[in-house]
């Protein structure tokens, strides 16, 4: 589902954020990506979302090559990826339910089905009772859970998560990881960037370690 082949990413000025990175994440696989701050984790996620383009090498996501991806294709690509952002990226002026419903609204889902999915997603992250709240009324951990609900509501084929449990307590982190595992079981490919080594070890999944832009063997 996600395939990197000898990918380099150089920024103007010569800084190389990623050097010769190659890996695959298959359908139904949950993989972690770890590394110290500045190792290139965020750059890698940005490349997958076509927020940036690789300097060289090939990236394909959900059978779509990102090498010559057109501007029109980018939204379609992002609609197939559920993304959990470290800084939540919620719309402050919309309710929790409306935030979660956004991917469905973009995909033009029928109302009944959308309502059902929004409720189910909020129920999974334990926030159904706060559906009518606005994000600033929630704690950082709750906002993170809204972001997770939004990422999974569209039942994407790929889920990317950047420090999804960074603001959550251990019990809730475990619950969220269980949600991710449920998606893994139904064939979703998950790539999770995390600093939380204990969580990564506890999950026993494949781990990609980045160091100064290089993937360690």
């Amino acid at each position: 589902m996600i395939k990197f082949e000898r990918v380099f990413k150089r920024y103007p000025g010569g800084f190389e954020a990623l050097s010769d990175v190659s890996f695959n994440v298959e359908k139904g696989e949950l993989a972690f990506i770890t590394g110290h701050s500045g190792a290139g984790k965020s750059t890698l996620l940005k490349l997958i979302l076509a927020l940036e383009s690789a300097s060289s090498g090939n990236i394909s996501v959900a059978d779509l090559s990102l090498k010559n991806i057109s501007r029109r294709q980018i939204p379609k690509l992002r609609q197939r990826i559920g993304t959990v952002f470290q800084d939540h990226q919620l719309l402050a002026r919309r309710t929790v339910a409306d935030n979660v419903a956004l991917p469905l609204k973009i995909s033009n889902f029928p109302k009944f089905e959308a309502d059902r999915r929004v409720r189910a997603a909020l129920d999974k992250v334990g926030l159904l009772s706060k559906a009518s709240y606005f994000p600033p009324m929630l704690s950082s951990g709750e906002q993170q859970r809204v972001g997770i609900a939004r990422a999974v509501v569209n039942r994407p084929s790929i889920i990317l998560a950047d420090e999804p449990t960074g603001n959550l307590d251990p019990a809730l982190s475990a619950e969220i990881m269980q949600v991710f595992q449920q998606f893994q079981k139904v064939g979703v490919a998950l790539l999770i960037a995390s600093h939380d080594i204990s969580l990564v070890n506890a999950m026993g999944c494949r781990t990609l370690v980045l160091e100064d832009g290089r993937l360690l063997p």
């Binding site: 927020l51 939204p75 992002r78 002026r93 033009n108 889902f109 029928p110 959308a114 309502d115 559906a131």
Partner: protein
């Protein structure tokens, strides 16, 4: 609770939701929205007023000048035979249509009634008014009309010929000037209208930059982001046109009596109650044009701004 789950089931519903969202966005900033609408409405008002007044006047004047009339006052010694003879000769001409004979006795009675001096005039032993012929000319060309008037004046039975088209020509020239001026102002107003809506849209985009970036991040295509902005432009155009129409009606009510008084001063035979309004079709066309232009202005501005924003 259910009201918070508002996801549309089809594309039409999506457009309705976007239109509603655009309206709610305008209502959320009532002062700014009112200021923008008033700016656009007043921009539209001046050319509308000029065009409405000039069109109504031109229409009325055209109707009037399509049957130009000359009044021939006969010599003092005229009598029934003379009136009959001269009328018969005049009717043989191809440039004259109908002749209405106004005998001096009738003219005296009408003058007495209209002037209110009937008591005083009744004491006069003689009628000082001449017999008159009101001649409807088939000729519309002012130069040929003047030439006809000269030919009529040469008849020995006719003392004076009065041709009342000069003031119509002047008024027609004035209304034409007013119309041209209205069109020029209208053109400037359209540019102003376009710029106001484009700037307003640009400000809305700038205020929603974070939201637009998030939407793009989760896969919203440009059309999804642009739709509420386009509807916002459409609503601005529509509401401003409604306001301009209301203001125009209010101004016309104030101006109409002044204009009609002005017409009375010139000629009593001309319709002195002119209907100054845009008409239903005119109003509908204006609403459509204004809404479309608002949509277009918002589209041009929003497309440029939204394209620039990347997550």
């Amino acid at each position: 609770m259910t009201s918070t789950f508002s996801v549309p089931s089809n594309r039409l519903q999506q457009h309705v939701v976007d239109l509603k969202q655009a309206g709610q966005g305008m209502l959320a900033r009532p002062a700014a929205t009112l200021a923008t609408l008033l700016t656009i409405a007043t921009t539209l008002l001046v050319p509308i007023l000029l065009l409405v007044i000039s069109s109504s006047l031109t229409q009325t004047l055209d109707q009037y000048s399509n049957s130009p009339r000359l009044t021939a006052y006969l010599v003092e010694s005229s009598n029934e035979d003379m009136i009959f003879n001269v009328s018969e000769r005049l009717l043989l001409r191809e440039d004259i249509g109908v002749i209405e004979v106004v005998p001096r006795a009738r003219a005296f009675t009408e003058f007495a009634n209209v002037s209110g001096f009937d008591g005083l005039l009744g004491e006069l032993e003689i009628n000082p008014l001449p017999d008159a012929l009101i001649i409807s000319a088939l000729q519309l060309d002012p130069t040929k009309l003047e030439s006809l008037a000269k030919e009529l004046a040469a008849f020995p039975e006719i003392d004076i010929v009065q041709l009342d088209v000069e003031w119509i020509k002047r008024l027609q020239g004035f209304t034409q000037l007013m119309r041209n001026f209205g069109l020029l102002i209208g053109l400037a107003a359209l540019i102003g209208f376009f710029l106001v809506i484009a700037t307003t849209t640009k400000l809305i985009v700038q205020q929603s930059e974070d939201e637009i970036r998030v939407l793009k991040l989760i896969g919203a295509p440009d059309a999804f982001i642009l739709r509420p902005l386009l509807y916002s432009g459409l609503l601005y155009g529509f509401c401003a046109a409604v306001m301009a129409l209301i203001l125009q009606l209010a101004m016309i009510v104030t101006l109409v009596s002044l204009i009609n008084e002005f017409l009375v001063e010139y000629n009593t035979s001309m319709p002195t109650e002119i209907d100054f309004n845009l008409g239903l079709l005119g109003a509908v066309l204006m609403l459509l044009a204004s809404s479309s232009l608002g949509f277009l202005a918002a589209g041009v501005s929003a497309y440029r701004e939204v394209l620039k924003l990347e997550p």
